[in-house]
Symmetry: C2
Subunit: 324 residues, 2 copies
């Protein structure tokens, strides 16, 4: 076995064993042909996989290794949140080139295991490999949900209100700043999206959401997914969309990020959901904002501040976060 890979495996095993295991669901973790998991009785299993590739999803000169691994695991946890599920275990396939410093891998694992601990899940397995060029991390998160209770994208009904958690556009604005000035590195470093697991579970327990998705590709694209799967249309109110805030100019005045970042920027990891019932302003400490309504007519529309309505195209993801 190549030295790097041997070291990598040892490091992952050591880190994973040292990390707290507070879930009873993992019966057998790292060290056998498969992990063995035991889910709560009457529950179904949720599975999500998310692949992160160097220079496609992250850059080593822009992102700290902790930020990279937190983002990897956040993507998976956020998918579990979007079903109203309970995360149970994570799996990591990690391929690294021979010249990757072991310190980088150490910090990557620290970030991953730190976030796993916050959500009381363990790293239960995975795979390692030498990569000819560039780092690749594929994360699988397994979750559970009471039988038949997963919140799908396909349940939105005409007349439902459309809601989002938190603020949108932070990540896209940070990437745009990096592109322009190469000085925004600390924004990426400190940006720590919070997977909205508790909000998703609240909505599921109280039967409040008719459809739900997490905002990973960007609001316009993710809303289109709900519309397509539910065979409905949507109308958004531009003024209502909660925008992240950033400091700008020499005097570091705090402003809302541009509307386009909130509409089309990806990597928000907030929840977008629809409901026939009014929703509290805050759930599990997270602000909830109504941003529009589900409509019968296909397609999406956006009502601007001046009251004019225009067609909203799905433009998420490709513009901002891809092809760093």
């Amino acid at each position: 076995m190549p030295l790097l890979e041997k070291k990598l495996i040892q490091q992952i095993r050591r880190s994973a064993r040292a990390a707290t295991r507070t879930r009873g669901s993992v019966v057998t973790g790292i060290g056998d042909d498969c992990a063995v998991l035991r889910l709560p009785a009457g529950h179904e299993m949720l599975v999500t996989t998310d692949c992160s590739i160097e220079n496609t999803h992250f850059r080593r000169d822009w992102h700290t290794p902790q930020a990279v691994s937190r983002r990897c695991l956040t993507r998976g946890l956020s998918d579990i949140a979007a079903m109203g599920g309970d995360p149970q275990a994570a799996f990591l396939s990690l391929a690294v080139p021979n010249d990757c410093p072991l310190e980088w891998i150490d910090h990557f694992l620290q970030g991953l295991l730190g976030l796993a601990k916050e959500f009381k899940i363990s790293l239960a397995g995975g795979d390692t490999a030498a990569s000819p060029d560039g780092i690749m991390a594929d994360i699988v998160v397994i979750g559970s949900v009471p039988r038949g209770k997963a919140i799908l994208r396909s349940g939105a009904k005409v007349g439902d209100r459309i809601y989002v958690t938190g603020d949108l556009g932070h990540s896209a604005a940070a990437i745009a700043a990096l592109r322009q000035t190469h000085s925004g590195w600390t924004q990426c470093q400190t940006f720590r999206p919070q997977p909205r697991v508790a909000v998703g579970q609240y909505l599921r327990r109280h039967g409040l959401a008719s459809a739900m998705i997490d905002l990973s590709d960007g609001l316009s694209t993710d809303l289109e997914h709900i519309c397509q799967e539910s065979h409905v249309g949507a109308e958004l109110n531009a003024e209502a969309i909660p925008r992240a805030r950033e400091s700008a100019g020499k005097k570091r005045i705090v402003l809302n990020v541009a509307l386009d970042f909130a509409l089309h920027g990806g990597d928000d990891y907030e929840l977008l959901f629809t409901s026939s019932a009014p929703i509290p302003n805050k759930i599990a400490g997270v602000r909830i904002t109504q941003i529009g309504r589900i409509k019968r007519s296909a397609g999406m529309r956006l009502t601007a501040v001046d009251g004019r309505s225009r067609v909203l195209e799905a433009q998420g993801w490709e513009h901002f976060t891809k092809n760093l």
Copy 2:
């Protein structure tokens, strides 16, 4: 979204939907934030991930796309087999460079879905990404096993017999031939390892195996895993090890592959298991061979044809199948 990735996602969705879904375990497949799976009552979940990287695990000029994807999925199915489990669903994370022909991806998916169909599982989800350089495929296979019945690596007892399924060394011999002559391509093309799922299930149902592992790294390395996890040693009989056969020389005489290929060659995907009971010569149509005994003293030994016993070092994997 970049054109290649859009096409890739469309292709995977189309292929996955077209493929037979004969398992009731997948409640919601591709097209939501997570897949939803329902396991049989009283069962535990098995999870395995296997990462395959171009020029580390396969080469496009040596392996057909079908051979690459079959090998990817075989690795996962073989891990499920090694626990005595029942495969339920597969997930694929696929990253491809922009210059990868769509035809290659088509054939890759054909191979994957063909093997999935043989084992009555569906492709229930995954992720796609653009890769700056080289193809990367990470496969997750989910399986199930009756609660508490998974066959682990840690159960081997002093005095147990050691068995393997099938023949060993075919893949390592083929790779060696490719290295020497670059003429053995068809061997790689036609080599179709069969995950021993039915054998694993038989052994589990009849409570016959005390420990089990699949031969992916090579006999010497995988036997060492059993010894370490079970805190025992092992003695193998060189003459008893079933070697694959290959045709050699101008007259294409059929010979056993070299003992070293059977001892240390990886990618066999046969099962290695220990048992206190005698085992039938054939299970589910697959030949079973006793190759040694579990010993109290730590370490592994090999008794040669001349009756002499020497120390057996774990040398699997690194010599033959890595760093193509």
